[in-house]
C-alpha cells in the first residue's frame, strides 16, 4: 500500500468528516463523526510498524519471526534490547494494529449507537434536529 496516497485519503476523509460535524443538523454531525471514525480506523491500520505479505494468521505450528530474540529490556546500559534490524523480514502484517482497530471499531459503534438514540431523544424534546436550537440561554 502506498502510504502517501493512503495518508492523503485519510486526511481527505478527516476533512470531509470535519466539514460535516460543523453542520447544524444533528444527524449530519453524526454522519460526520462516522466518516472520521472510518478515517481513524484506516489510519491506525496504516500505522503498523512492519508490513508482511500475509494476513496475521499463522498457518503452521512454527512461528516465523527470528527465534533467538530474548524479549527482555536491558536498561542497565541504557540500551533497549532487542533492537530488531530494520531489514528483518516478517511474513505477516502487523497484527497489533488490527486488534487495536477492532477494539476501536466496536467502541466507536457503541458510542455511535448511543449518540444516535440520543439524537432521536433530542428530536423528541426539541422538535427539531437543528443543533442551534439546542442552546440554552443562560451562558
Amino acid at each position: 500500500m502506498n502510504n502517501v496516497f493512503l495518508s492523503l485519503t485519510i486526511a481527505i476523509l478527516f476533512g470531509l468528516g470535519t466539514f460535516l460535524i460543523l453542520r447544524k443538523d444533528v444527524i449530519k454531525v453524526i454522519i460526520g463523526l462516522s466518516i472520521i471514525s472510518h478515517a481513524v480506523n484506516v489510519l491506525i491500520v496504516s500505522s503498523g510498524v512492519f508490513n508482511g505479505d500475509n494476513a496475521p494468521i499463522i498457518n503452521g505450528h512454527v512461528s516465523d519471526s527470528s527465534s533467538n530474540i530474548i524479549f527482555n529490556d536491558v536498561l542497565d546500559n541504557g540500551v533497549l534490547a532487542p533492537v530488531v534490524a530494520n531489514t528483518e523480514e516478517v511474513a505477516y502484517v502487523d497484527p497489533l494494529v488490527q486488534a487495536l482497530v477492532l477494539t476501536a471499531i466496536v467502541i466507536g459503534f457503541s458510542i455511535t449507537a448511543f449518540i444516535l438514540i440520543l439524537a432521536y431523544r433530542i428530536y423528541e424534546e426539541y422538535g427539531t434536529t437543528d443543533i442551534n436550537e439546542l442552546k440554552r440561554l443562560w451562558g
Binding site: A11, L16, P56, F109, Y120, T128, G139
Partner: protein
C-alpha cells in the same frame, strides 16, 4: 506551664468554648453570655500571666511542628505589641460579652451570637501571637469570616447582607493580596517565621534591596489597609455597623480593625526607613484621617458617626506608624501605640453608650434624639467622658496621645523640610479639628438640647446596670490613663514600642510640656472645632451638592457599580464566551487542535514532509482510495438523510475492502458487520425523525467551515505522513513478540484474535463493558422521558 502552652491555651480556649456554647445554653439558658464572658476572662488571665516575660522589652518564641513539608510551624511570638492587642481583645471581650447579656434580647439566637464572638476573639488572639506569616494570615482571615458572620447576624435584613458582603469582599480580598505579599517575602527570605526575619538585619537589608521590595510592601499594606478601613477601603466599615452594637464596639472599633494597624507595627522593622514606607503608610493615613473625619461629622446615625470616627482614629495610628521613616528614635510609634490603647477604651465606651441609647430610645438618629441627660444621667456622664477623651480634652487620655500625635507630626514635618514642615502638622490639625467637631456633635445631639418628644418613647429609662457597668468601667480607664499616664506608659507603651522598634525605649508623658508647637496646635484645634461645629449646615449643604453633581467621587459608587452589576456583567461575558452552540465549541476544539499542531511546525521548522516519499501506486489501490473519497464526498454533500446514510454505508464497505487489501480479514468482517448495524440503528432513529430541518449555508460560513476542515486535513496529513513514513522505528515492535509466542503460549493461530482475547484481553474486557454501557445508557435515554 511555659509561655507557649499558656498562649496556645489562650488561643484555643475560645474556640473550644465556642464549640461548647450550645451545651452551655442548655444549662444556662439566656444567661449563656456569662459563660462566654467567663471564658474571655480566663483567656485574659492567661495572656496576663505571660506579661512578665515581655515587660522589659524581651520577646519569646515557641513552636510546635505543624506542616513540616512546607516549613510552616504552629508558632507563638510574644512581645509587647502582641501582648497589648491580645489583652485588648480579651479584655474588651469580657466587657462586651457581659454587656451583651443586657443588650441581646432573650429571643435571639444567643448560642450562635456568642459562638461567633468567641470564635472571633480566639482568632484575634491567635492572629496577634502568630510567629509566622501563614498562621497570621489564617487567623487574619478567620477574623474576617467571623466579622462577616457577625455583621450578617440578622441575616434576613438586606442591609446586614450588604454590609457583611462588603466587609468580606474587601477584607478577604485585601487579605489575599497581603498573603501574596507574605509569599513573596518567603521567596526572598526563605522563611515564614516573623521573628527570624525581624532579628536578622542582613535579611532585612536583603529585602530592602530586592527588586520586589516595593511590590511586597504594597501588597502587605493593602491587606492592612483593607482590614483597618484605610484609604479607599474604608467603605466597608460604615456598613459593618449593621452588626449588633456590642459587635461593632468589639470588632469594628476596638479590636479587629486594629489588626491592620497591628500588622503595620509588626512589619515596621522590615520596611520602615524607606521613602516608600512613609509615602504609602502616612500618606494613606493622612488622607483617610481628613476624609473620614469630615464624613463622621456629616453623619446623623450615632453608629455612623462612631464608624467614621473609628476610621479617622485608625488613620491617626497609621499615620503615626508611617512617620518614623527618617526619624530615629521617633515618638511616632510610641504615640501611635498609646493612642491605640486610648482609642480602644474611649471608643468602646462610646459604642456601648450608643447601644444603650439605641436600646432605650429605640432610635440611633441624632436628629430625633436630644435632651436625654435628664432621663439618663449616668449614661450621659459616661458618654461625655468618652467623647471628651476623643475630642482631646485634658486631662483625659485622648488629650495625651493627641498631643503626642501633634508633636510627632511637627517632628516629622521638620525632618522632611519645607513645605512638608507645614503641610504635615496642618493635616494633623485638620484631623483633630474634625474629631473635635464630631465628638461635640455626638454629645450635643444625644444628651443636650431639647427632648424631641415626637420621635421618642414616653419613658426612657436609665440603662440597666449590666449594660452601664461595662461602659462605666471603660470610662474609668479613660480617666485613669489620663490622670496617671505612667501606668500605661511604663507597663504597656514602653515594652510595646521596644517590641516594635526592637530597641529599648523610654518615654516621659505629662500633661504640660510648655508652649510647644503641639500645644499651639491643640488650641487651634479647639477653636476651629467649635467654629466648624457651628457652621455645620453650610458644610452639609456643600457636601450634598458636591455628591449630587459628582457621584463618582465616592468610593462606594465604584464598589456598588462593580458588585451590584457583577452578576449581570459576568453573565454578559459568559454568554458571549459560551453562547451555547455546539458548533462554536467544536470549532474551538478544532482550532485548538490545529494550533497545537502548528506550534511545533513553526517552532521546529524542520522538514515537514519527509524526503523519501514514494508515489508508486497500483491501480487497484488508487481506484479503491478514489472510490472511498467519492463515497465520503457523497455522504457529505447529499442533503437527505437516507441517501447520505447509504453513501456512508458504501464507504464502510469500501473501507472493509481496504482492510481486505491490507490483509486484515477480521477487521473486514467487523467493519462489514458494524457498518450494517450502524445503518440499521440509523434507520431506527430516522424513522422517528422526519427530516424537516434544512440548513442554509451562507457563503461566509461555508468558506469558514471549508477552511477549518481543510486545515484539519492538512494537519492530519502532515502528522501522518511523518509518523508512517518519516522514520523506520529503530525498536522492536510488540508484535514481534506476539508472532513468536502466540502459538506456543496461547494455542491460537489467529494473531488478531489472540491479541484480543489473550495478550490484550483486558482491552476487550473494556470494550465489552462499553457495549454494555451503550445498552444501559440507551435504557436511561428512553426512560428519561418528560419532566418528572
Amino acid at each position: 506551664m511555659n509561655s507557649f502552652t499558656v498562649i496556645a491555651l489562650a488561643i484555643f480556649l475560645p474556640f473550644l468554648s465556642a464549640a461548647t456554647v450550645p451545651l452551655a445554653q442548655k444549662i444556662l439558658r439566656h444567661r449563656v453570655g456569662w459563660f462566654a464572658s467567663a471564658m474571655a476572662f480566663v483567656s485574659f488571665l492567661l495572656i496576663a500571666y505571660v506579661a512578665p516575660v515581655v515587660i522589659h522589652g524581651d520577646t519569646f518564641t515557641g513552636a510546635v511542628s505543624w506542616l513540616p513539608s512546607v516549613g510552616v510551624e504552629f508558632s507563638v511570638y510574644i512581645d509587647g505589641l502582641s501582648l497589648l492587642i491580645g489583652l485588648i481583645a480579651s479584655g474588651i471581650g469580657i466587657i462586651i460579652m457581659s454587656y451583651s447579656n443586657g443588650y441581646m434580647s432573650h429571643k435571639e439566637d444567643l448560642s450562635r451570637y456568642y459562638q461567633y464572638l468567641l470564635l472571633f476573639m480566639g482568632s484575634m488572639i491567635g492572629m496577634v501571637f502568630s510567629a509566622n506569616t501563614i498562621q497570621l494570615f489564617i487567623f487574619w482571615e478567620l477574623t474576617s469570616i467571623t466579622s462577616f458572620l457577625l455583621i450578617g447576624y440578622w441575616r434576613h435584613r438586606p442591609l446586614s447582607i450588604y454590609g457583611a458582603t462588603k466587609s468580606l469582599v474587601i477584607t478577604a480580598a485585601g487579605g489575599l493580596v497581603m498573603f501574596i505579599g507574605f509569599l513573596i517575602l518567603h521567596s526572598i527570605t526563605g522563611t515564614f517565621d516573623i521573628p527570624t526575619i525581624l532579628h536578622d538585619s542582613s535579611m532585612i537589608e536583603n529585602i530592602k534591596n530586592h527588586d520586589l521590595f516595593l511590590v511586597t510592601l504594597i501588597f502587605i499594606f493593602i491587606g492592612a489597609a483593607a482590614k483597618s478601613a484605610q484609604g479607599p477601603f474604608y467603605i466597608w466599615l460604615p456598613n459593618a455597623m449593621e452588626a449588633p452594637t456590642p459587635v461593632s464596639a468589639f470588632l469594628h472599633s476596638a479590636t479587629m480593625v486594629k489588626a491592620g494597624v497591628f500588622l503595620i507595627a509588626r512589619i515596621h522593622p522590615i520596611f520602615s526607613g524607606t521613602e516608600a514606607w512613609f509615602i504609602l503608610v502616612s500618606g494613606t493615613g493622612m488622607a483617610t484621617m481628613v476624609l473620614a473625619g469630615f464624613l463622621a461629622f456629616r453623619q446623623n446615625d450615632i453608629k455612623g458617626i462612631l464608624a467614621f470616627s473609628t476610621i479617622s482614629q485608625l488613620a491617626y495610628l497609621v499615620t503615626m506608624y508611617g512617620y518614623t521613616t527618617y526619624h530615629e528614635p521617633g515618638i511616632g510609634v510610641a504615640a501611635a501605640t498609646f493612642h491605640l490603647l486610648n482609642h480602644a477604651t474611649f471608643k468602646a465606651c462610646l459604642f456601648l453608650v450608643a447601644g444603650i441609647v439605641a436600646h432605650e430610645a429605640a432610635t440611633r438618629d441624632i436628629r430625633k434624639l436630644g435632651g436625654l441627660r435628664h432621663e439618663m444621667p449616668l449614661t450621659f456622664i459616661v458618654a461625655s467622658i468618652g467623647a471628651l477623651a476623643m475630642a482631646g480634652i485634658p486631662p483625659l487620655n485622648g488629650f495625651l496621645s493627641k498631643e503626642m500625635f501633634y508633636e510627632s507630626s511637627v517632628e516629622m514635618g521638620a525632618a522632611l523640610g519645607f513645605p512638608f514642615g507645614i503641610i504635615v502638622p496642618a493635616i494633623a490639625v485638620i484631623g483633630g479639628v474634625l474629631t473635635f467637631a464630631y465628638s461635640i456633635k455626638l454629645i450635643d445631639g444625644i444628651f443636650l438640647g431639647k427632648r424631641k418628644d415626637e420621635f421618642l418613647p414616653h419613658h426612657i429609662h436609665e440603662a440597666p446596670y449590666v449594660m452601664l457597668i461595662p461602659a462605666g468601667l471603660l470610662s474609668v480607664l479613660v480617666i485613669l490613663f489620663g490622670l496617671v499616664p505612667s501606668i500605661p506608659v511604663h507597663n504597656i507603651i514602653e515594652p510595646v514600642t521596644s517590641g516594635i522598634l526592637l530597641e529599648t525605649v523610654h518615654l516621659h508623658v505629662t500633661h504640660w510640656h510648655g508652649f510647644t508647637p503641639a500645644f499651639m496646635m491643640t488650641i487651634i484645634t479647639f477653636v476651629l472645632g467649635l467654629l466648624i461645629y457651628t457652621k455645620y449646615d453650610s458644610l452639609a449643604s456643600w457636601q450634598d451638592r458636591l455628591n449630587a453633581s459628582y457621584p463618582w467621587i465616592s468610593v462606594n459608587y465604584y464598589y456598588d457599580a462593580i458588585v451590584n452589576n457583577a452578576r449581570t456583567n459576568a453573565y454578559r461575558v459568559s454568554s458571549f464566551v459560551q453562547p451555547g452552540f455546539v458548533k462554536t465549541y467544536i470549532n474551538a476544539l478544532l482550532i485548538l487542535t490545529i494550533v497545537l499542531i502548528m506550534i511545533p511546525m513553526i517552532a521546529l521548522s524542520g522538514d515537514l514532509i519527509p524526503q523519501t516519499l514514494s508515489f508508486d501506486i497500483n491501480p487497484y489501490e488508487a481506484l479503491l482510495m478514489l472510490l472511498m473519497v467519492v463515497a465520503a464526498i457523497a455522504a457529505t454533500v447529499l442533503p437527505k438523510y437516507i441517501p447520505a446514510i447509504i453513501a456512508l454505508s458504501s464507504l464502510g464497505y469500501m473501507v472493509s475492502l481496504l482492510f481486505i487489501y491490507l490483509k486484515a480479514p477480521d477487521l473486514a468482517l467487523t467493519q462489514i458487520l458494524v457498518e450494517t448495524l450502524t445503518t440499521i440503528i440509523f434507520l431506527l432513529v430516522i424513522v422517528r425523525i422526519p427530516q424537516t430541518f434544512r440548513e442554509k449555508l451562507s457563503k461566509a460560513n461555508l468558506t469558514r467551515d471549508v477552511f477549518i476542515s481543510g486545515l484539519v486535513s492538512v494537519g492530519v496529513f502532515i502528522v501522518l505522513i511523518n509518523a508512517t513514513q518519516g522514520i523506520v522505528p529503530p525498536f522492536e515492535s510488540l508484535s514481534h513478540y506476539f508472532i513468536e509466542k502466540s502459538v506456543s503460549l496461547t494455542g491460537g493461530h489467529n494473531l488478531v484474535n489472540v491479541i484480543l482475547v489473550d495478550f490484550r484481553g483486558y482491552d476487550t474486557l473494556g470494550e465489552i463493558s462499553v457495549l454494555c454501557l451503550a445498552a444501559l445508557g440507551v435504557y436511561n435515554l428512553i426512560h428519561s422521558r418528560g419532566e418528572r
